[in-house]
Subunit: 353 residues, 2 copies
DNA sequence: GTTCTGGATGTTAGCGATAACCTAGAGCCC
DNA sequence: GGGCTCTAGGTTATCGCTAACATCCAGAAC
């Protein structure tokens, strides 16, 4: 641990090599998957690493391999809760790989603005991009990325498309499970508030809802469906329309938590008790879901884990080839139904007349 | 742009040096502040950099300088909106400096859990830590950090303490400004919902409120004050207590947006129109503030910028010395009063009787 | 026995940037 | 004019790690 110009006397491969009686190269091999290393040697090295508390220096590694060092993340106002979870996961994966995350906000809705934000990446030198929703389905973004030859991996793009890389949950199945939960509680009149019409996930969630309704022997046409845009405001409007009607539905299934939170607000304002008078459920399990009273029954997406997986997938893809599209790849991660306090059996028949 | 083993044919200092007819060292000097470089040379190099679109390789830089490569961020559930903003800023600064951000959640409230989370950092090799609220005021965290000899910079720690490093806004002045806004609108009966009693910022905001009230010639004792904990739930309870009373206040100043949002919910439920019947204001300007109807008048903290500044301050501190405490440093960044739709003049006298 | 094969290791040479040191002049003093 | 200081700039030697190639040796193949 000689005093070089650098302050911290970190443990290096050399130190480990000496301690284990092998060469630095062998240590390096053990650290990275380690092919062509005899078992006994591997153990000796592993022991030395453990004893010396060796941690590879990521800067040196990425310098040596000359690999991707910056990967982009183009975000456009998913809810803050979603973004922070997403960042936590993405960061963990990026750090492990020794590469930096370059964030780029993409405020505008217009194609021009989206293309412009995307172009930023071509200038900064990011070697790949991950796209959380809703940008993963934006045509301008994808076109621009393709034009610049920057590979990307989408997260939560509703449905698989050939040649694309995607990490998602099974929106269809999750929505169906939620619907079954309501039906099992006894609800027969369930209203559905849809998500943004441009996002495939919206359609998938609706499909799942319809499927579960039919599977229970009910008529999907009898269920009221309101349009929505995944925003609090749109949830407000949709719920107002729903609760104006009589008889009112005994349950509302909003395609995301923001709209569900809005539904809770409107119901409260109309003097309804949740879940006694009406059940309300959401989708996503963002923090908002527990910041509302009562806490929402919802579907949890493992957002951080999905982001982590997406980064890993992107890096693997970059490692493999120079950037040609490859064949695409899709990974479906498990979701979870979270039952909280916003659901209960419907009021006794006739209660809402 | 020879084909080395690395795929990307990046521009290096050497390329720039050749193009400008100088040595690599000179280019490096120009890039980093550049002392001892003649003006004409500097310009030539700058021109070459621009022309070749040179971007220094952060990995190589941090390897060469042997500086901090990992800085920690210990977070404990500030609102998701706060965290995501914070991360955006911190990430930008970290990337510029070529160092990685290591996130560590600190869930527990107990001293043990907090100390344990902090200890994680000693193991991973982070060279410094930044502490967003509320952890910046946690005694166990600070003790543990000191024991491990890891320098830290706090963000939004309410008040300066000798020997500590801190980036914050002027909570006192901001709260006073908000209070003046309400008084200027004509409010004379303003209720205040306090923040978490353990955080200095809560006290500062309250002090600011009292100060402005007195400055306007009103009696602070006449203003109702409710305890709160910065949570949505505590805001709910506080507002219910306030609105049960008669006459009810014409305005409610909640010490953060989460509680203000709760206040809006309760007021709505009681059939009050905001801002016609009652004005409600918050503090922080997190996304929640615009996810509620009407959008909240609040105080904006430049969260991302504060995080960025904190990281820069930490790095400067690490660069300077090995880690001894130094003398502490404090930076107060400007806040901004954001007037939206949740404030208006009070109802005509007697309206609330 | 000789050649070949292939797995396990060591050696060398960078990756891109900068710290530390060195050099050549310019300006200045006595 | 010799010695000195100061400045602008170049040289060299790493930082820690890993590709690429070289080496060595056991066993297989002939």
């Amino acid at each position: 641990m000689r005093a070089t110009r650098r302050g911290q006397g970190g443990v290096t491969v050399q130190d480990v090599a000496r301690a284990a009686g092998v060469s630095a190269m062998t240590v390096s091999r053990v650290v990275n998957g380690g092919h062509n290393v005899r078992e006994s040697t591997r153990l000796a090295v592993a022991e030395a690493i453990e004893r010396l508390q060796y941690k590879p220096n990521p800067a040196a590694r990425s310098l040596a391999v000359g690999e991707a060092t910056q990967i982009g993340l183009l975000y456009a106002n998913p809810s803050a809760a979603y973004l922070s979870q997403f960042l936590i996961g993405a960061l963990a994966a990026a750090r492990r790989a020794g590469c930096h995350l370059v964030l780029e906000p993409c405020e505008g809705e217009s194609a021009d603005e989206q293309a412009e934000s995307t172009r930023q990446f071509a200038g900064a030198d990011v070697q790949g991009v991950i796209l959380p929703p809703p940008l993963c389905e934006s045509e301008p973004v994808r076109t621009e990325l393709a034009a610049a030859g920057i590979p990307s991996v989408a997260v939560a793009m509703g449905r698989h498309e050939a040649g694309t890389y995607n990490v998602r949950i099974d929106d269809f199945e999750a929505a169906a499970a939620m619907t079954r939960h309501l039906i099992d509680l006894g609800h027969r009149d369930i209203a559905f508030i849809r998500g943004h019409p441009n996002q495939v996930a919206s359609a998938e969630r609706y499909r799942g809802f319809v499927h579960a309704v039919e599977a229970a022997g009910l008529d999907p046409k009898a269920m009221r469906v309101e349009p929505g845009y995944f925003t609090y405001r749109s949830g407000l409007a949709a719920t107002e329309r729903l609760l104006r009607q009589s008889p009112r539905p005994t349950a509302i299934f909003a395609a995301n938590d923001d709209m569900a939170a809005a539904a809770v607000g409107v119901a409260h304002r109309q003097g309804l008790h949740i879940p006694r008078d009406i059940s309300i459920v959401g989708f996503d399990d963002v923090a908002l879901a527990t910041n509302v009273w009562p806490e929402l029954t919802t579907v949890r997406q493992p957002i951080a884990q999905m982001a982590e997986t997406a980064v890993a997938m992107l890096l693997a893809r970059l490692r493999k080839r120079g950037g040609d599209a490859g064949e695409g790849e899709e990974l479906v991660v498990p979701h979870e139904l979270i039952v909280r306090e916003s659901t209960a059996p419907p009021p006794k028949a006739g209660g809402a007349r």
